[in-house]
């Protein structure tokens, strides 16, 4: 048995010298061009950071390509951002230009700074997860190909964060993103009475249901559960704790779209994203219906929002009725909340627009 409990390497061994020297001494920064940041220190030192888009799901040879560039221009160091982009930190503009030339040769985009659409925070999907109701990497690729120019430019009113989660566990940042795509089911689970005895803990399975739809089997001789289908909204949490309750379905499964969330405290407090499209089908490899709606929302937002207004702030100002009108997204009964505290989301005023 090898060593245990050593923890990760100390970050201090991973910092380039210019960062070590100016740690905690930064004075200001600016963004000379999309994808490039210039930070100036109290010591007079300055650094240029080149931010580069990555598909996140990458081979070790991709990582080695990045290392080659970092060895050549960045003192043998690089970092990744909290949105899976790669950052090359250099001590001169000339080296930054060198990095840009090299990453372009590899076909990687420079951008993701300022009022842009940076990388999409996403999950495993059909690549590695058993509970995925949609794929993640394919959706991300399809959306980013379409919105590519927003990554390499800074032409939006404010930045737009996009996230993808392949099921309603919502790993990542779905519930607080300007735009989010979430995998959903539309069919209740099928209970396998044979498997459930061997593979599941029945009380845990019953407790896992947010709407109390899972009950003990009415026949005491059958050690299993039944699903009240009128109470089931297909969240799949029972499947997470009990493999004998699968509910994935090629036609039933697809995605929902949420908008208007944010985590930053700038101007308005953080907000949850809200559902604006209850369902679109899984249509691999390009998910054209999803890409069309996402593009439409971004374009309407870009045309209508005021400077520095995030998606959620813009919608709060104009009102949801106007959002649906401008985006031409049909409003349905699924949009109206019917979970706990739903009434807080109903309109308790005569103030609304026609």
């Amino acid at each position: 048995m090898g060593r245990t409990d050593i923890g990760p390497p100390d970050y201090r061994e991973m910092l380039p010298d210019v960062i070590k020297k100016n740690y905690g001494k930064w004075k200001y920064h600016e963004t000379p061009r999309p994808g490039v940041l210039r930070h100036v220190s109290e010591t007079g030192d300055e650094i240029y950071t080149v931010r580069v888009g990555s598909p996140r799901l990458v081979s070790i040879d991709f990582v080695r390509d990045l290392c080659d560039i970092a060895d050549k221009y960045c003192d043998g160091h690089l970092r990744f951002t909290s949105r899976f982009n790669v950052e090359f930190i250099t001590d001169s503009k000339a080296k930054a230009d060198g990095v840009i030339a090299e990453v372009n040769k590899l076909g990687l985009p420079v951008g993701g700074t300022g009022n842009s659409i940076s990388n999409i925070v996403h999950t495993q999907g059909w690549i590695h997860c058993h509970s995925a109701a949609t794929d993640a990497s394919g959706l991300v690729k399809s959306v980013m190909d379409e919105l590519y120019d927003y990554f390499t430019n800074m032409k939006l009113p404010a930045y737009v964060r996009i996230a993808v989660a392949c099921c309603i566990n919502m790993c990542g940042a779905i519930h607080c993103s300007d735009l989010a795509i979430v995998g959903v089911h539309r069919r209740p689970p099928k209970v396998d009475n044979e498997k459930i005895i061997a593979q599941c803990e029945i009380p845990t399975t019953i407790q896992s249901c947010p709407t109390g739809a899972i009950r003990r089997h009415p026949d005491p001789n059958v050690k299993s559960v039944i699903v009240r289908e009128d109470l089931c909204m297909y969240c799949a949490n029972c499947f997470t704790v009990c493999p004998a309750m699968p509910l994935a379905d090629p036609v039933g499964d697809g995605v929902a779209i949420y908008v208007g969330g944010k985590v930053s405290n700038a101007r308005k407090p953080p907000m949850f994203s809200r559902m604006v499209v209850p369902f679109l089908p899984n249509n691999p490899p390009r998910w054209p219906e999803v890409v069309d709606v996402i593009k439409k929302i971004v374009e309407v937002y870009a045309d209508n929002a005021r400077k520095y207004e995030r998606m959620g702030e813009w919608i709060e100002r104009i009102g949801w009725e106007k959002f649906f009108k401008l985006t031409e997204i049909p409003f349905t009964e699924q949009h109206i909340d019917d979970f706990t505290h739903a009434i807080e989301t109903y309109r308790t005023t005569t103030q609304f627009k026609w």
């Binding site: 245990t4 598909p55 081979s59 990744f80 909290s82 794929d135 190909d145 790993c171 969240c235 691999p284």
Partner: protein, 387 residues
């Protein structure tokens, strides 16, 4: 085997870097990655996942850090029949030397599929796909080379933080050192799950919250300050003279109307007692406005995704705390929270759900924290009050 992948081939087109190209790159050297490509193509055809439910695998001494995964069609894809994932704890701030990165690549070339995620959402390096028999030797080689596993299961998950003082003028706290120090202090809690459910800690250096700590951590640390903004009037004037609309884009957008603009003298003044430190003016005038110097953190708790009771954002627990090594006060608070949660939490009940069930008032009493108005948006409207 996946010799033909017509659906996935579509995703090699277009300007955004293609993950399909990456899998194909790995597949040239590695059979498991070749089968991964086949499994993905089959999923695209069937519009359904082809991974079996769950999978419990691991390494000796730990209860967390490895996600087991088995393909549901092992006869078609024998080389990815068992395709387990390592979560490898990243260095704080995701800074790397190329030497360390190359070492990880070499280890993964030997033991795994050659596919990775840089990074998982919680922050770990994800090494994607190894057969069961390679787990222990791969882990042993990782630790020999200075890398340990991160968290999974009902444990403390890998801690992450924003870039902080390494490259940001707004860092009010040393996020990287907090991540390093706490990760090292709580190794046991990370590697050996013992709690009702998962627990996440994230630290952001300022209220811009670049690691989304307010949305993605049970325990949220966000840097802030107690004194006033530092405003450089000459720099402000410079912004105005260069055509930047200070009044329209900064003063008028202040959420508490705490800024005043004198058009004649091009002077910006702040009523410090009204400022809620939202960062907007600082963000927009990076050369002219900076956070104060009496710095510390706001501690918030409870954020989580929807399952079971709905999604939560973290809310204020401690409005201001000085946050300096050895961080004993915060570590003590964490241990107190874990003890209470461990004692009272139901199976798979996140901290916020327990607090909601028991009442925030009960939680505050148990923690010995006095109630203050900063914890709420507004007082209750109903009269159903316990005494």
């Amino acid at each position: 085997m996946a010799d033909e992948t017509p659906l996935l081939d579509e995703l090699e087109k277009g300007p955004w870097p293609s993950y399909v190209k990456e899998i194909k790159r790995a597949a040239k050297k590695n059979k498991a990655s070749k089968d991964l490509l086949g499994i993905q193509e089959l999923s695209y055809k069937d519009r359904i996942t082809h991974w079996k439910h769950g999978g419990i695998v691991g390494v000796t001494g730990y209860g967390s850090g490895v996600i087991g995964r088995y393909c549901d069609s092992p006869e078609k894809f024998p080389d990815a029949a068992a395709f387990h994932t390592f979560r490898v704890n990243h260095p704080a701030g995701w800074f790397y030397s190329t030497k360390a990165l190359r070492k990880i690549c070499d280890i993964w070339e030997k033991y795994g599929s050659g596919m990775t995620n840089f990074h998982g959402s919680t922050g770990d390096i994800i090494l994607l796909g190894a057969p069961t028999e390679n787990l222990q030797p791969c882990f042993d080689t990782l630790t020999e080379n200075g890398f340990d596993l991160g968290g999974s299961g009902s444990a403390l998950r890998t801690i992450s933080g924003c870039v902080g003082k390494a490259r940001c003028e707004w860092a009010n706290i040393d996020t990287l050192d907090i991540v390093r120090d706490f990760t090292s202090e709580f190794q046991d809690e990370i590697h050996r799950p013992r709690w009702p459910y998962k627990f996440k800690i994230k630290a952001s250096g300022c209220p811009n919250d670049c690691v989304a700590a307010i949305a993605r951590a049970d325990f949220t640390i966000i840097g802030t300050w107690k004194d006033t903004l530092r405003i450089d009037q000459a720099a402000v004037k410079n912004y105005a003279e260069n055509g930047f609309d200070v009044k329209g884009l900064v003063v008028d957008k202040c959420p508490t109307d705490a800024l005043e603009w004198d058009e004649k003298t091009k002077t910006l003044t702040l009523r410090a007692e009204d400022c809620v430190r939202c960062m907007h003016c600082i963000n927009k005038m990076t050369k002219a406005i900076r956070p104060g110097v009496d710095t510390g953190a706001t501690i918030l708790i409870g954020s989580k995704a929807p399952i079971i009771k709905g999604a939560y954002l973290s809310w204020v627990l401690i409005p201001f705390i000085k946050i300096e090594p050895p961080y004993n006060e915060i570590k003590e608070l964490l241990r107190k929270i874990w003890d209470w949660w461990d004692e009272n939490g139901r199976t798979r009940e996140r901290l916020a759900e327990l607090i909601e069930r028991k009442g925030f008032k009960t939680f505050l009493r148990e923690m010995g924290i006095p109630p203050v108005p900063q914890m709420i948006y507004k007082p209750r409207a109903n009269p159903y009050v316990f005494f």
